[in-house]
């Protein structure tokens, strides 16, 4: 008996040791100590965060995490990606399992106020839409009265869906799934006539997941506002500021014309005071954030500015082929508007 107990205790100890108990008091300190940023991402959504067979992550949300790592730790590869389902994401952030949640998450009042998290900004302005098989003969969401709709639970999508049909005074039958994959495969199997999620997600699904992209079409209506952005845990203002201003720096860099290619040239030769402040050639922006002067320089140098990230992952250079639309710079009629770095 004693032996068994000792054995069991040792096993537990070994397991705990192997699994590791993360200590995170001050997020910045623990990131520096660990040498990596832990970043919660989607389990697999093309354009935002998706891993290839070798476990290399790509996507807009992923690139933001890499930029944070470049700014804080100095190397954009120093990121541990933690794939999270819609249900797990907030718990993972609350409990300190991840330092940043960058998982196409919609900014809402409830989430910002009562879930123990803070949104650091918006890296993608999205809106919810519908996808239907092309041979269904439907051209508008207004014709969807009575349809069966596949949707993933625990998302704002589920609530918007109900709101939209109520407002339009139409009926529908939700088929609700726990996981993204389940909901998707049910739709492709023909369990539902309609699939709904953010339009960027629909574009990704159509171009990447659909057996034949031409068999499906995305309806023109956008039924909701979905500002997607990274979030951090409440109660750590210093880390919140870093997460927020890395994103702003990426957007500002595009506005100021700084790209990963010309950044060294700009840093050496530019006389623009804003460029100089962003790249750490003047001012003490880094120090105010608790970082070194070259924080933004590293992020932009290694990952490119916001526009480069967009084009690479979801824009014209990617399979998704999305317009900039609302995500264009304010100077081009979009909503990307960086508060001044000064």
């Amino acid at each position: 008996m004693r032996r068994t107990k000792w054995f069991a205790a040792a096993t537990v100890a070994a397991f705990v040791g192997a699994a590791g108990v993360a200590q995170a008091g001050d997020t910045f300190d623990s990131v520096m100590e660990r040498g990596t940023v832990r970043c919660g991402v989607n389990t697999g959504l093309a354009g935002f965060s998706i891993a290839d067979d070798q476990g290399n992550w790509t996507g807009l949300d992923v690139d933001y995490c890499r930029a944070v790592a470049a700014a804080v730790v100095g190397d954009s590869d120093k990121v541990e990606f933690v794939p999270l389902s819609a249900q797990q994401r907030f718990t993972a952030l609350q409990s300190g399992e991840v330092d940043v949640l960058s998982r196409n998450t919609t900014w809402t009042l409830t989430r910002d106020v009562s879930l123990g998290i803070h949104f650091a900004g918006i890296n993608f302005y999205d809106g919810q839409g519908f996808m239907v098989p092309a041979d269904l003969g439907v051209d508008s969401a207004k014709q969807l009265d009575g349809a069966e709709v596949c949707v993933q639970t625990g998302t704002t999508t589920e609530l918007n869906l109900a709101d939209y049909f109520r407002a339009q005074n139409m009926s529908f039958k939700p088929v609700v799934f726990e996981g993204f994959e389940e909901s998707l495969s049910a739709f492709f199997a023909g369990r539902c006539q309609v699939y709904t999620t953010d339009k960027s997600g629909l574009a990704a699904i159509k171009s990447v997941d659909a057996p034949n992209p031409d068999d499906y079409k995305i309806l023109p209506e956008t039924i909701s506002k979905e500002p997607l952005g990274p979030s951090v845990r409440r109660g750590d203002d210093a880390w919140f500021a870093i997460a927020k201003w890395v994103l702003i720096a990426l957007v500002q860099a595009e506005e100021s014309g700084i790209t990963s290619d010309n950044i060294d040239d700009m840093k050496a030769n530019s006389d623009n005071p804003m460029v100089k402040r962003v790249l750490g050639a003047s001012g003490d922006m880094g120090e105010k954030l608790g970082l070194d002067p070259e924080w933004a320089y590293r992020a932009i140098k290694q990952m490119g500015n916001y526009g480069e990230m967009y084009d690479r992952n979801v824009g014209m250079e990617s399979p998704l082929g999305l317009d900039r639309g609302l995500n264009a710079q304010w100077t081009d009629g979009g909503l990307m508007y960086a508060p001044p770095i000064r």
Partner: protein
């Protein structure tokens, strides 16, 4: 010696209709109109299902490494899917180049399990062997020592993860459940009610709620800044769940012992723990071994529920293999493949439990 045959009749063979194939058929399939009818119905069902099934499984199946399009044309199963994806199914998202590590680990674990099934090796040192095996297993999976690249637990997956959850669950829940069973039989009211409360509470709720509790509530229970690994959280839920079921099984064993054993031990002046350790538990556990193995069998199947909280066990890894749009329609092949894996483990365990029941039956039954 010759047999005197005077006056004795040689034995006639039984009628042809009672021996041989015909006799067997008559006795087992066609005795009476009702059985004949049943046989005919069952035979019809078999003939109409088995040959197509064999065709689908083997004869018409695609075995070669071909394009998914070729597979879609085929009449039978597309085992190409398994050949294409078996690494993902068996090892989940574990880094591709390091997958020899979980493979070695699983083989080692299975070897030790094989040894442990032989009663000749039931010695105290077996515990030490198990401990060493588990440590090596965790080292192989986790890395970070002996020049192995560290691999985070989020990446562990597939069969190695399923086995890990099951084995650690077995090892940790066992002592816990003995304490719970003893507590429930104890005559100290407070200890007894705590144990009853724990056991009944856990047995009254589904495992999935415990898993949700572990994933959503456990982080809140911890002091600020301490986070527990997702795998460990699921493991805790499984241990809590199994230990309460196991406690009831062991309590059954304790109750089956005649009262004289307790009285005898007491009259020898043994203390409570001495009594339990030297007299009661060895006998009670021996009676309970077959149901204990059955409980483990149930637990092994239940580990598949961690798929719902997004741990990439054998089941979820298989579902991830379907995520590839080209192969999405071959889910039957994938499910059949892992069903066979699960079935082999479970069937072995259930046969082993029946075997133990016979071997260990040394006359406690009246």
């Amino acid at each position: 010696m010759s047999v005197p045959n005077s006056g004795e009749k040689t034995e006639l063979p039984p009628p042809k209709t009672q021996v041989g194939v015909i006799g067997w058929l008559r006795a087992n399939l066609f005795n009476g109109w009702f059985n004949t009818l049943l046989t005919l119905i069952a035979g019809y069902i078999l003939i109409s299902t088995v040959p197509p099934l064999i065709d689908w499984l083997f004869l018409d199946a695609v075995w070669g490494m071909v394009d998914p399009e070729v597979c879609k044309q085929a009449e039978g199963a597309c085992w190409t899917f398994i050949r294409e994806k078996y690494r993902l199914i068996l090892f989940g998202t574990y880094p591709f180049n390091e997958q020899w590590r979980p493979l070695v680990g699983v083989l080692l674990l299975l070897t030790v399990v094989g040894f442990s099934c032989n009663r000749r090796f039931w010695h105290p040192w077996l515990g030490a062997v198990w401990l060493a095996t588990l440590l090596i297993y965790l080292m192989l999976l986790g890395g970070g020592v002996l020049g192995l690249t560290p691999v985070r637990t989020e990446l562990w997956g597939g069969l190695p993860l399923t086995l890990l959850l099951a084995v650690v669950g077995i090892v940790v829940a066992f002592p816990l459940s003995i304490l719970l069973a003893l507590g429930r039989r104890s005559n100290m009211p407070i200890v007894k009610s705590i144990c009853i409360g724990y056991i009944e509470l856990v047995r009254g709720v589904p495992l999935i709620t415990l898993l949700f509790m572990a994933s959503f509530m456990l982080p809140l229970f911890m002091p600020t800044g301490v986070s527990i690994d997702a795998l460990l959280r699921a493991q805790v839920a499984i241990i809590i769940f199994v230990s309460s079921y196991l406690a009831e099984v062991i309590r059954g064993g304790l109750q089956a012992l005649p009262k004289g054993q307790y009285e005898g031990a007491e009259s020898l002046g043994l203390t409570y723990w001495q009594t339990q350790r030297k007299i009661i538990l060895p006998q009670a556990l021996k009676i309970s071994i077959p149901p204990i193995v059955n409980t483990y069998l149930g637990m092994f199947k239940d580990t598949s529920l961690v798929a719902i909280v997004s741990l990439t066990d054998l089941l979820l890894a298989t579902r991830q293999a379907f995520a590839d749009p080209e192969w999405r329609s071959f889910f039957v092949e994938g499910y059949v493949f892992i069903a066979i894996i699960y079935w082999c483990f479970c069937f072995f365990m259930s046969k082993y439990s029946q075997h133990l029941e016979r071997v260990l039956d040394t006359g406690h039954k009246r």
